[in-house]
């Protein structure tokens, strides 16, 4: 049954955010939240990205954060563990 465009956008946005955080902030692909580990890993990584770029740390993919994520950029990760 056709998906309402709005809902699809949100899904697409979430995929985009996840892919960005996997590429540049070492978000593990299997980042499903574990009940006792507290904050959702994706939220934690999102906060890390927002802090790095001096954005307001909301943990949410707000407009400014998405704008920054869409900027053309270097493919190297922003967190320190690249090999």
């Amino acid at each position: 049954f056709p998906v309402a465009p709005e809902a699809e956008d949100e899904e697409k946005t979430l995929q985009f955010v996840e892919s960005y955080l996997q590429s540049f902030y070492d978000l593990r692909k299997d980042h499903h939240p574990h009940i006792r580990s507290g904050e959702n890993p994706l939220t934690a990584k999102l906060k890390e990205m927002q802090s790095f770029f001096g954005l307001e740390v909301t943990g949410k993919p707000d407009l400014e954060t998405l704008e920054m994520m869409k900027k053309p950029r270097c493919g190297v990760t922003d967190v320190q563990k690249y090999m």
Partner: protein, 365 residues
């Protein structure tokens, strides 16, 4: 710096260009690579020798999508390039995404700027969170002829390889911070209800509805404008901004510089003795534009397109003791004059200064 501080054990490094993008002339690619390497060799003891064959320390290539390094490219835009930290084999290598529009100017992506960034990784640097740094993760265009390696990047690379052998140690621009008490401005203008503060190659953009100012490069909006804008004013009626630097001025509307610009300031009626304009503002009610040069000012009639008679006059005689004016703008009927880190609020009706503030008062510090 990257964890573990990977660095080359030698200062005399080699590089090789494995293949060329068809989008640029080979000579332009060579030149971009040479200039990008020089960015780093000019501030460290490092030297780079070009190899035509054999394995070099830094292998530079243009690649498509999956190119067998576990980091596939993603097509146009998005990820532009990547590089590897110092080490054997792939260590130090630079890969450029062939599907990007590589150029030697402001169109597409400037090869020199992206290469210079990636070579920072090849030498052991990670990303910097200083928005003005070359090692900041996102792309920003700057005219290569105006490029100066920022101090943040100089500090980074010298922490790994030490200082340059040159007698004079090179220094670089520092990114302005809105709440720096010592912040002064080159020029200021309103723009469609916002205020733009210009400093070097940067502009601080203040929207009335946002508490924080946003820092960008001038080139983000106006890639063909120089840095170091010395004066600027908005003509609200015509929705135009006029920028001044040395004896030239540009008129823009939105992103576009109007045809025929830059022109020389003498076109406005300045005498040849005037070499530059320090500040300017347009009076919303009278439509007159005030130009401040050293200790004098001129008044320009935007309708007649000529200077009013009886000018120049002494600034002090009509505006009081505000000294030399670095920058000025008018908002809500008041004129704000900036001199160093001091700001004066002038009431043109009462013809007197009504308040004195810090230059950073607009940034809610």
């Amino acid at each position: 710096a990257t964890p573990g501080n990977p660095k080359w054990k030698r200062n005399n490094l080699t590089y090789r260009i494995l293949n060329y993008t068809p989008k640029m002339r080979r000579a332009d690619v060579d030149e971009a690579v040479r200039r990008a390497l020089n960015v780093w060799s000019s501030v460290t003891p490092l030297t780079f020798q070009k190899l035509e064959d054999k394995e070099a320390d830094i292998m530079i290539s243009f690649a498509y999508r999956d190119h067998r390094d576990n980091s596939p490219f993603d097509g146009p835009n998005g990820q532009l390039a990547h590089a590897f930290q110092p080490g054997e084999d792939i260590g130090g290598d630079v890969h450029m995404d062939e599907e990007e529009t590589w150029t030697k100017d402001g169109r597409g992506y400037n090869l020199f700027i992206v290469l210079a960034h990636e070579l920072g990784h090849s030498l052991g640097l990670s990303h910097s969170n200083d928005p003005g740094a070359l090692m900041y993760p996102t792309y920003s265009y700057i005219d290569p002829d105006e490029f100066l390696l920022p101090q943040d990047d100089i500090n980074g690379i010298q922490s790994i390889y030490g200082q340059s052998n040159a007698p004079m140690q090179p220094t670089g621009p520092i990114t302005p911070e809105a709440c720096d008490p010592n912040l002064t401005f080159d020029s200021i203008t309103t723009l469609r209800g916002e205020i733009f503060f210009f400093k070097g190659r940067y502009m601080l953009r203040k929207h009335p509805a946002r508490t924080e100012a946003e820092l960008n490069f001038i080139s983000l909006f106006w890639p063909r404008l120089p840095s170091g804008i010395q004066a600027a004013y908005e003509n609200i009626e015509r929705d135009e901004i006029t920028f001044f630097k040395e004896d030239k001025y540009w008129v823009v509307r939105g992103y576009d510089i109007l045809p025929g610009y830059p022109k020389r300031i003498y076109h406005l009626g300045f005498p040849k003795t005037v070499k530059r304009v320090n500040a300017a503002y347009n009076d919303e009610t009278t439509g007159k534009t005030y130009f401040f040069v050293a200790d004098r000012y001129w008044r320009y009639d935007e309708e007649k397109k000529s200077m009013d008679h009886g000018y120049p006059r002494k600034i002090v005689s009509d505006f009081g003791n505000i000294g030399r004016v670095d920058a000025a703008f008018q908002k809500d009927g008041y004129v704000y004059f900036f001199h160093g880190t001091t700001q004066f609020q002038f009431d043109p009706h009462a013809k007197r200064i009504v308040r004195k503030m810090k230059s950073t008062s607009w940034f809610n510090c």
